[in-house]
């Protein structure tokens, strides 16, 4: 069985919509596992965070990335492509979490090795269940690689 991690799990949320950020925070509050949610608002910030560049030199390496597709500037598709072609970062699971249910986004995300694709539900209860489901699945069920750089 999985043991509870000694340190809180670390999640990077790449999301420009403050409303969605708040909803995810609210949903995580009620979750039993200790977690640290780091939020960045666009693709450039996300990559800087992951590569510990600039203001993010002390940033932790996240256990999981929650990635919105539509972001200002460099969008989520480009972030996904860069993460998955980076030898060091590609082992971090990426959950695409987006408003889009367009088939081309789903196909393209998996083609770029997204670990899963979720369309944000419009109903609040479903949204909360979805966020808790992500936590439950990725941190209690799934075996993740050790959180160290390659």
């Amino acid at each position: 069985m999985n043991q509870a991690p000694l340190r809180p799990v670390s999640i990077l949320l790449v999301e420009d919509n403050a409303g969605d950020v708040r909803l995810i925070e609210e949903s995580l509050k009620t979750y039993k596992m200790r977690n640290l949610l780091h939020v960045v608002e666009d693709g450039d910030q996300a990559l800087a965070f992951l590569r510990r560049e600039g203001d993010y030199s002390d940033a932790p390496r996240p256990d999981l990335i929650l990635l919105d597709l539509s972001l200002p500037g460099k969008d989520g598709r480009e972030v996904l492509a860069e993460v998955k072609s980076d030898d060091d970062l590609r082992r971090i699971p990426v959950v695409v979490l987006t408003g889009s249910s367009a088939e081309e986004d789903i196909i393209r995300s998996y083609e770029q090795h997204a670990n899963c694709y979720i369309t944000k539900p419009i109903d609040l209860d479903q949204f909360s269940r979805m966020v808790r489901g992500i936590e439950e699945f990725w941190f209690a069920i799934v075996k993740l690689p050790p959180n160290v750089s390659a």
């Binding site: 919509n17 409303g19 969605d20 909803l23 609210e26 597709l69 539509s70 987006t98 408003g99 889009s100 249910s101 367009a102 081309e104 986004d105 944000k120 419009i122 109903d123 609040l124 209860d125 949204f127």
Partner: protein, 393 residues
């Protein structure tokens, strides 16, 4: 003015020809040469329509002159009349023919014969010119037509490009609809619900009712957007047509509708169904929309739905018959309009997009869709699928 050449080593013969031409053939201009070489040099200088060449000349004889005129492509069209002595052998005349001579005249040259032969020659030359004109004109016509065709093809190409661009724009629009319009909607719905959860105790029943309407509106808006998206994608997302076994297709559709069929106790039956050229995903959608409507708009009786097909000239006519509530004839056209509904949402849920999408898909298959129905007597939806098998854009 037709230019004629006379070649003869005897000046008196040439003089006589000059007199004849002057007197009887005002439409001709005669040039003369006293030897074969001189004659060829004159023709090289300026082409002649016809040449009257004496066969029996010292040096280059008339047959050789004729041969050289006919061998050179620039002078080959010259009408050559060989002038032979009365006692000329048929062997000599044969050589003349072989050299390409067009006609023969015997010395001494009689006025009537000469004028008649020249006139025939002029008529021939005129006819040849007319033919060349006609040929030139034809060539021009062909060129013009070719240009017209090229212009038409360029226009078609441009049209196709415009169509592709407008499809791409429609795609972009559809994507914006699916993504960007949904986000604010989600915000409204989620936060109204959060408000409800957090402040339930502080709100009265009226406030909760308002919240319910707000959430319901947002959810409904989302369904409308999804419907619009599905509608806009019939044209842009269609596949090439392939032979489609509609009976197997129907089986798949019924699996999709299994829950609705079991819940309502519906009985769905069908006749043998054909294989038609179609986009199978879209055709399945037509069956699914029509059958689910047949089940949704049921009467007190458990729904009975029957699907059949009949072949017409160059199309199959499919029908989906039910024993449901039926439709007043005044609404038969209206039900195929986007977002058009005949009932309140409390009576029958839905956004009014199923029949519309069926119509657009059927039209892409070069077909028609219509309904025959009366209130209380069930409905039969008919649609045709062309057997020609080319998508209509």
């Amino acid at each position: 003015m037709a230019r004629l050449l006379a070649v003869d080593d005897d000046p008196s013969n040439l003089r006589m020809l000059e007199v004849l031409v002057e007197q009887y053939l005002p439409q001709c201009e005669l040039v003369t040469a006293s030897s074969g070489q001189e004659g060829l040099a004159l023709v090289a200088e300026q082409p002649v329509a016809g040449a009257l060449v004496d066969v029996n000349m010292p040096g280059m004889d008339g047959i050789e002159v004729c041969r050289q005129l006919k061998a050179d492509p620039s002078t080959a069209h010259t009408h050559v009349i060989l002038v032979t002595a009365y006692e000329a052998t048929s062997e000599l005349k044969g050589q003349g023919l072989e050299a390409g001579a067009d006609d023969f005249i015997t010395k001494p040259i009689g006025t009537v014969e000469f004028v008649a032969k020249i006139r025939v020659m002029l008529r021939l030359i005129q006819a040849e010119e007319d033919l060349r004109d006609i040929a030139d004109h034809l060539e021009e016509l062909v060129e013009e037509r070719t240009k017209d065709l090229e212009r038409a093809r360029a226009a078609l190409t441009k049209h196709a490009e415009e169509l592709a661009r407008s499809n791409a724009e429609l795609e972009q629009f559809a994507y914006v609809a699916s993504h960007d319009l949904q986000e604010p909607l989600r915000m409204v719905a989620s936060y109204v619900q959060l408000l409800e959860q957090r402040y339930k105790d502080k709100l009265d029943s009226e406030a909760n009712e308002f919240i319910e309407y707000a959430v319901d509106g947002a959810l409904r808006m989302q369904k409308l957007i999804d419907g619009l998206l599905a509608y806009s994608r019939v044209g842009t997302r269609g596949k090439e047509f392939a032979p489609t076994d509609t009976e197997a297709l129907l089986d798949d559709v019924l699996v999709n509708l299994q829950v609705a069929i079991e819940e309502t106790g519906a009985v769905v039956t069908h006749d043998p169904l054909p294989t038609v050229p179609a986009d199978d995903v879209q055709l399945a959608r037509v069956f699914q929309n029509l059958i689910s409507n047949a089940i949704k708009f049921r009467s007190e009786e458990p729904p009975r739905v029957h699907i059949s097909a009949a072949q017409d000239a160059d199309e199959w006519v499919f029908s989906v018959r039910d024993n449901g509530i039926g439709i007043d004839p005044q609404h038969h056209e209206r039900i195929f309009t986007l977002f058009q509904r005949l009932h309140t949402r409390r009576q029958y849920p839905g956004i009014g997009v199923g029949a519309t999408i069926a119509r657009v898909i059927v039209q892409r298959h070069d077909g028609r869709i219509w309904v025959e129905s009366e209130p209380g007597k069930g409905s039969t939806f008919y649609f045709t699928i062309s057997t020609r098998g080319e998508p209509v854009s």
